[in-house]
């Protein structure tokens, strides 16, 4: 029972990261139809920026996390402007290839600048906590709580503010949004900024727990794609729920079935589900 609870707790923590990353990806993929395959690399870049700020400039943990979010937000805007916007209206494969180029560029730039060896951010909150019979660190609790707060804030932003509603408007009907005077380019920029900032936040929060390496985002982005396709493209609730479910499945599957094949389950499930329902579990029919 204790092991089970421990795995559930770890699953929720993993799921918090997945939910935040998937939420960012669903914004750009589901809403702007940009298959941002480099999303995992933006996540990785976010972790490195935080590491850099803490180790080189002696930033406090929270100051570093917030600065990293801002920096990655700007990077996201640049990516949208220079990598994806020139390809709007061209065959979908082109944007895909551009994304792969960006992926290679980011991964290797980071490897050049900071080296390929794994790095670790010193634990800001190393104390252990005893909760319901399980032992954990404060940092893990912080990840869970911070993710929930950020997800709620994003929901409020999109539902309650003018800027947020323009994102929804573009998602529903790009041309209609243009007709009522919404600057679609600005909305794209903003969406990319939010998406990248979320990735940076997730990466920075997790960085003291796991090692950071230039390839840390490679599998993560695929998991995020699995989540958003299963949860329904563009559906934020689907991304959040899917994130937590995948975290739990992975943690329990890895703990009780097989650690080596835990990723195979997730990816295999995607291939099968897409075979049965080619537009995803909750996807709309479209051409």
């Amino acid at each position: 029972m204790e092991l089970f609870l421990q795995q559930v707790f770890n699953g929720i923590m993993l799921g918090s990261t997945y939910a935040m990353v998937a939420l960012g990806l669903t914004l750009v993929f589901g809403i702007l139809h940009v298959p941002n395959f480099a999303h995992g690399n933006l996540y990785m870049l976010g972790a490195y920026v935080t590491f850099f700020l803490i180790s080189l400039y002696q930033f406090g943990f929270w100051a570093a996390v917030i600065s990293s979010m801002v920096i990655l937000g700007v990077v996201g805007m640049l990516v949208e402007r220079f990598v994806y916007r020139p390809l709007i209206g061209q065959p979908h494969i082109n944007m895909f290839i551009s994304a792969i180029g960006l992926l290679i560029l980011l991964e290797n730039s980071v490897a050049v600048v900071w080296g390929t060896s794994a790095k670790r951010i010193p634990h800001p909150y190393p104390d252990t906590v005893h909760l319901l019979g399980i032992t954990t660190t404060q940092q893990r609790l912080i990840v869970i709580v911070a993710a929930v707060i950020m997800i709620i804030l994003l929901q409020l932003f999109i539902k309650k503010t003018i800027h947020g509603t323009t994102i929804e408007a573009v998602a529903q009907d790009r041309e209609g949004a243009q007709l009522v005077g919404i600057n679609v380019n600005w909305v794209s920029s903003m969406t990319f900024a939010i998406s990248s900032a979320f990735a940076a936040a997730a990466a920075s929060l997790m960085a003291p727990i796991f090692m950071i390496t230039p390839t840390m985002g490679a599998l993560l982005v695929m998991k995020a794609f699995v989540i958003i396709i299963l949860g329904g493209l563009g559906s934020m609730q689907g991304a959040i729920l899917g994130g937590y479910i995948l975290g739990l499945v992975e943690s329990l599957g890895g703990g009780f079935i097989s650690a080596a094949y835990k990723d195979v389950f997730a990816f295999g499930a995607l291939v099968l589900i897409l075979a049965i329902k080619p537009t995803g579990l909750f996807g709309k029919e479209s051409n």
């Binding site: 082109n94 895909f96 960006l102 290797n108 995607l270 075979a275 080619p278």
Partner: protein
């Protein structure tokens, strides 16, 4: 007369063929021949990727997965004592067989969904190759794959593949074979239906093409060819490890196809050879060269989506137009017409 015409139309290809055949005779450096062997192996993989990606319009990102399946299949069968010449088509058939099932599952999806689900399959192959230790020997991989079985030739002796030059010709032989197969396929009625599916799937369906079977056929042939390429790679390297199924390889081949020229015969080869040599040339830059490579890929897709071959054909057409215009209106108009036909392709 007939030969004259053939020479006039194909002089460039003949020249390239002669250059390719005489390469190891002219260049004595083992280092350059080895790079050329690698480049041409990648060219083969890029050629088959071009069939599904360029001609059929489906971005299969499981390409390295099938390459790996072929490589592992060849490694296991030849180590069990099977002759290379039987093991190689078997490697292709194995990849094609798995490809048939994966195609049945994934080809129901379209566009990004297809790319993502094939990428997922590629990662599964990679993980299994690294984890199924009883069969694949895990991360170390399978070593000591025997060189291709020598072919006995009456009166001369036998043709063995221990020397680098002979290995080079082995690769050239299969490259030409692949080129021939893909050329014949693309220029057949079947090839036209591939392109019809690429250009407009709904329209293709409407004129009576079974788009699903068409895509499946293209996918299976692609995987047969890349499975064989994996086998050739495994035998030349003498060993396989999970990296042969890594998605990085797929990304590289994709880049070769795009930089060379998508949906052209020469594009994948031009891209593979040029980029491989460029990467070797920039070796001193270390890790930077991969970052530069990513940048080149982004720029290529934004500014030259038709690749180097596309740029050259356009340039050639412009020059032809220019001189045709001077000689007489008729020739110029013809050129303009053929250029337009090229663009709508």
């Amino acid at each position: 007369m007939k030969y004259n015409k053939f020479l006039k139309q194909n002089w460039l290809y003949l020249l390239l063929l002669i250059a390719a055949l005489s390469f190891p005779l002219v260049i004595s450096s083992r280092y350059y021949i080895q790079i050329m062997i690698t480049a041409l192996t990648w060219a083969m993989a890029a050629l088959s990727l071009n069939l599904i990606l360029g001609y059929t319009g489906q971005a299969s990102l499981a390409h390295a997965g099938f390459f790996g399946l072929g490589a592992y299949s060849l490694a296991l069968t030849t180590k069990a004592g099977l002759s290379f010449w039987l093991a190689l088509p078997l490697a292709g058939a194995f990849a094609a067989f798995i490809g048939l099932f994966i195609g049945l599952l994934t080809l129901r999806t379209r566009g990004h969904y297809f790319a993502i689900s094939t990428l997922c399959f590629g990662v599964i192959v990679f993980i299994v190759a690294g984890s199924w230790i009883e069969i694949t020997k895990g991360a170390t991989g399978i070593l000591g794959i025997p060189k291709p079985t020598p072919i006995p030739i009456p009166f001369i002796g036998e043709l063995s593949f221990t020397s680098q030059t002979n290995q080079y010709y082995l690769v050239i032989f299969f490259l030409l074979l692949f080129l021939f197969i893909i050329y014949r396929l693309v220029n057949s009625l079947q090839g036209l239906s591939f392109m019809a599916v690429r250009n407009n799937e709904v329209l293709a369906e409407a004129v009576g093409i079974n788009t699903f079977t068409t895509k499946l056929l293209s996918f299976v042939v692609t995987n047969f060819l890349v499975g064989m390429t994996g086998g050739i790679y495994a035998v030349l390297m003498g060993g396989v490890s999970p990296t042969v199924a890594g998605s990085n390889l797929t990304f590289f081949w994709l880049a070769y196809v795009i930089i060379g020229g998508v949906a052209t015969m020469a594009g994948p080869i031009v891209g593979a050879v040029l980029v491989t040599f460029l990467m070797e040339y920039m070796y001193s830059l270390g890790e930077y060269r991969l970052a530069i490579f990513g940048l080149i890929l982004i720029m290529a897709i934004i500014f030259f989506p038709r690749g180097l071959v596309g740029v050259f054909t356009r340039l050639y057409q412009k020059i032809k137009d220019y001189f045709g215009g001077i000689r007489g209106g008729g020739a110029g108009q013809n050129a303009a017409k053929s250029r337009k036909a090229n663009e709508t392709l």
